[in-house]
């Protein structure tokens, strides 16, 4: 998984940037150069995907890719992907859940979310079993404190909480391929056992430690995105990340439109309900797409179209709607183009 992601990133950079750019994106460096790069080369969803990645690890992996003939260093000292490299990437890319990565919007909450969840499961499982003494798997003070107070508010109906949590986790994990659901559960600690370490998961699934680090982040992002987007379906899980999903700054009218959208209504239906012009509702959508990192545009525009539009915008190096529209033979509406551009600037989740 790691070599593939590296190959893909090298390909995306089109020899315009050095390896450091990739490293900075992966570790989630907070610099405007990195933000620019990740959008310009469509690597936004991999922002912060491997925060403990060492510079030397990338370098070693690149050496391996060179030896395999997948990349080479061109005259200017930039890495370039070879034909074999490109076809290797294409053949294997879909074996891994790269589309789970959510990038920057989840950067501030992903680790906290999973640490809280795992520690709470350990705590609740042990205490419900009558074991008050156990070594917490987490030693981050903020996480410990959060779980402590979360537990305190729920201790009177612990059984209920466990039932709900179990039910929500079960439903959400069913939407994962079996192997991924397994990995998530194996990582959990309860009254009867401690969870597997990354090293152990890697061995069990024949992956490298880097692959498993990436995979755990990907799975966590996917979990989070489900929880955040369907907070009413997973109310218990939502509590573990609610404070991290920042209040979204919206106009009052925009907020109302969002309310109906979240209930699953279409643009036309909302136009009718709210007695507003369609163009007004469309403006709201743009507003939401710009402000809400969890907002998914896939309901309103096909994947293919997103790709076309964003590629064109990139090639033309412009945000001028008219130019983009013309260059795409007017296949798409202004609204569609605006929506895609809006979601790109925010580095949104798919």
């Amino acid at each position: 998984m790691f070599p593939l992601l590296l190959l893909h990133s090298i390909q995306q950079l089109q020899e315009e940037r050095t390896l450091s750019a990739i490293h900075h994106i992966f570790i989630g460096k907070k610099s405007s150069q990195t933000f620019q790069d990740m959008h310009a080369y469509q690597l936004a969803s991999f922002y912060g995907c491997y925060r403990t990645l060492k510079r030397s690890t990338i370098q070693e992996e690149v050496e391996r890719l060179k030896r395999n003939g997948y990349v080479f260093e061109n005259d200017e000292g930039r890495l370039q992907i070879t034909q074999e490299g490109a076809s290797y990437t294409q053949r294997h890319w879909h074996h891994y859940p790269f589309d789970y990565f959510g990038g920057k919007p989840y950067h501030s909450i992903d680790e906290v979310f999973s640490a809280r969840l795992l520690l709470f499961i350990q705590t609740a499982s042990n205490i419900a079993k009558g074991q008050r003494q156990f070594i917490p798997i987490e030693d981050n003070r903020h996480v410990l404190q959060w779980v402590k107070s979360f537990y305190a508010t729920h201790q009177h109906d612990l059984t209920n909480v466990l039932n709900t949590l179990s039910d929500e986790l079960y439903r959400i994990l069913c939407s994962f391929p079996t192997e991924y659901a397994e990995i998530i559960v194996l990582r959990m600690t309860g009254f009867h056992r401690y969870g597997l370490s990354k090293e152990q998961l890697a061995t069990k699934y024949g992956l490298t430690i880097h692959d498993i680090s990436l995979l755990l982040t990907a799975l966590n992002h996917y979990l989070l995105s489900n929880v955040v987007k369907q907070s009413t379906t997973y109310p218990m899980l939502y509590q573990f990340c609610r404070d991290g999903v920042r209040d979204i700054p919206l106009t009052k009218s925009g907020r109302q439109t969002r309310y109906w959208l979240l209930k699953g209504y279409s643009i036309d239906q909302i136009t009718n309900i709210r007695h507003l012009k369609r163009s007004t509702i469309e403006d709201h959508l743009i507003e939401i797409a710009l402000a809400d990192p969890t907002f998914s545009i896939s309901r309103f525009i096909p994947e293919e179209a997103v790709k076309h539009i964003s590629q064109t915008a990139n090639q033309l190096k412009t945000n001028k709607l008219k130019k983009i529209r013309e260059s795409l033979d007017e296949d798409y509406s202004y609204f569609q183009i605006r929506l895609v551009l809006a979601s790109l600037t925010k580095g949104n989740l798919k």
Partner: protein, 511 residues
């Protein structure tokens, strides 16, 4: 409570009917207001020696402990038996909690803290003004000697603190302290008239064996053979992180029926906790580790401790071996030795303290800066001057400069040739002395590896005058051989598993 004897008090507070060896004698001495040095083997209940007095004395007992995990364990244990007025002061407390704790500091009966914490002005003032320290405990007191001289230098400041507190009675406790370390503890604490209670530390249920082999590969092969014929809960100590990983991988490949993992200080915190607790919880059979795995490990059924590499001294070796057979059952220590093995601890010793080159360079840089006047010493700045020293060396140097008066109020004083020369020379001497001493300790351990007589006798002779009869096998020279050692092999655990069931189990559904 009046009129109760010690046994009754013990039973009242802790529910134990009698004292273990040494406890009563030590406690009696403490209650009479004497300073006490107590050397008791691990697992016999050292903590009782201050827990019970804490219940009986007015004021509070202050306990200096080297590790947060050890303090937490103690606090947990005490709370478990229903004793609430106990606190571990540590960096996990947030400012608000800290204020709260400080406000009520006087109301705690037992207060745990690190030696570094005690040097914190704010904390010390709180203690000094609010707490009546009726007993000052130095737990794991060998740290004064083992660590104090070099990188936990705050251990060396304890005597000064004691003085500032008005010289309350002192209890120094340790499980591993040979004569010279005992002397060191006494000197550092400045308590010449301390009452010594030294109990033998030999473990009668551990047999000792040494195998001479030709190479690291041969060691690994032997480990595979041993773990095949004797699949038991095992710890294997290595000198480096890389080796723990490599060995764990190789052993797992050859011994698929055993659950094997590695542990070292370079792992992320959560991963460390997971592996350590899996081992404690019998989810792992064999752990390949560095010395980072250890203190506070309280697993009862470890049967075999293998040293793939030697540590640098007997104390470490005994601590590591001592983790075997806590339950009293026959356990075994096997040490591997290959030609050239002495090089690893030797170079480790040499790299611990600053080298002569580093020291010279350090003093040059100090001189260059101090000629212009006093200045705030700051590590980052020195690194810019190409001064490459690690954290341990840095703390060592700081402490030494302070001690020789070259640092005052965190500032390096104005350059003065005589002071510079004197300090430079005496630090150099000190380093040489420490290195020589450590090399001598190592030589003794190396001699042991080549011992032809009884290994047990030689091993403990530095620590005690006589040794107990072993309850099982003694050693290679006397009666031990692997073939004759009968073990209960680990039962292989293979269960069908699916995530749905496991999730239900974790969250106690359908019980």
């Amino acid at each position: 409570m009046k009129g109760w004897n010690l046994e009754q008090t013990l039973q009242h507070y802790f529910g134990f009917t009698s004292f273990r060896e040494g406890q009563k004698e030590i406690i009696e001495d403490i209650l009479q207001g004497n300073d006490v040095l107590g050397i008791l083997p691990t697992g016999t209940g050292k903590s009782m020696c201050y827990q019970l007095p804490a219940m009986m004395l007015d004021g509070s007992v202050l306990i200096i402990s080297p590790l947060i995990s050890l303090m937490m364990d103690q606090v947990k244990q005490l709370k478990q038996v229903g004793f609430k007025r106990v606190i571990a002061i540590n960096s996990f407390l947030d400012p608000q909690q800290k204020r709260e704790v400080y406000r009520h500091l006087g109301s705690y009966k037992l207060i745990f803290c690190s030696p570094e914490m005690l040097q914190n002005r704010r904390f010390f003032d709180e203690i000094n003004s609010k707490v009546n320290v009726s007993l000052f405990v130095v737990d794991e007191a060998h740290c004064i000697s083992q660590w104090g001289h070099e990188f936990r230098t705050d251990y060396l400041k304890l005597s000064e603190t004691l003085h500032q507190l008005g010289d309350p009675p002192v209890l120094a406790l340790s499980a591993t302290a040979p004569n010279r370390v005992q002397e060191d503890i006494i000197t550092q604490l400045g308590k010449r008239s301390i009452r010594k209670h030294i109990y033998p530390m030999d473990r009668e249920n551990i047999a000792f064996s040494i195998e001479h082999v030709s190479s690291m590969e041969a060691k690994l092969e032997r480990m595979k053979e041993i773990l095949t014929s004797h699949p038991v809960p095992t710890m294997i100590y290595f000198s480096s992180r890389q080796w723990t990983e490599k060995a764990s991988f190789e052993l797992s490949q050859s011994l698929p029926h055993l659950r094997i993992a590695f542990y070292h200080g370079g792992m992320e915190q959560t991963e460390r906790i997971l592996i350590q607790q899996q081992f404690m919880n019998n989810q792992l059979d064999v752990i390949c580790c560095t010395s980072a795995f250890g203190m506070g490990i309280n697993k009862a059924n470890i049967r075999l401790v293998i040293h793939a590499h030697l540590p640098a001294q007997f104390e470490s070796f005994l601590q590591e071996v001592g983790r075997a057979g806590r339950d009293g059952e026959q356990s075994v220590s096997i040490t591997f030795y290959a030609p050239g093995d002495s090089e690893i601890p030797r170079s480790f010793i040499e790299s611990e303290l600053p080298s002569e080159t580093l020291l010279n360079h350090f003093f040059e840089v100090l001189k260059k800066k101090s000629i212009q006047g006093e200045w705030l010493l700051n590590r980052d700045e020195l690194i810019q001057d190409n001064l490459q020293c690690n954290e341990i060396q840095w703390r060592f140097l700081l402490y030494q400069l302070e001690k020789h008066g070259m640092i005052k109020n965190k500032k390096v004083v104005l350059f003065n040739q005589a002071l510079w020369d004197r300090t430079h020379y005496s630090i150099k001497e000190f380093i040489e002395k420490r290195n020589t001493m450590k090399q001598q300790k190592l030589v003794r351990l190396l001699n042991w590896v080549h011992e032809e007589g009884c290994l047990r006798k030689r091993l403990y002779q530095d620590f005690q005058s006589s040794i107990k009869e072993p309850v099982g096998y003694c050693c290679d020279a006397c009666d031990f051989s692997l073939q004759s050692w009968q073990v209960i092999p680990i039962a292989p655990t293979k269960q069908a598993w699916n995530w749905e069931q496991e999730l239900r189990k974790l969250l106690l559904q359908g019980e």
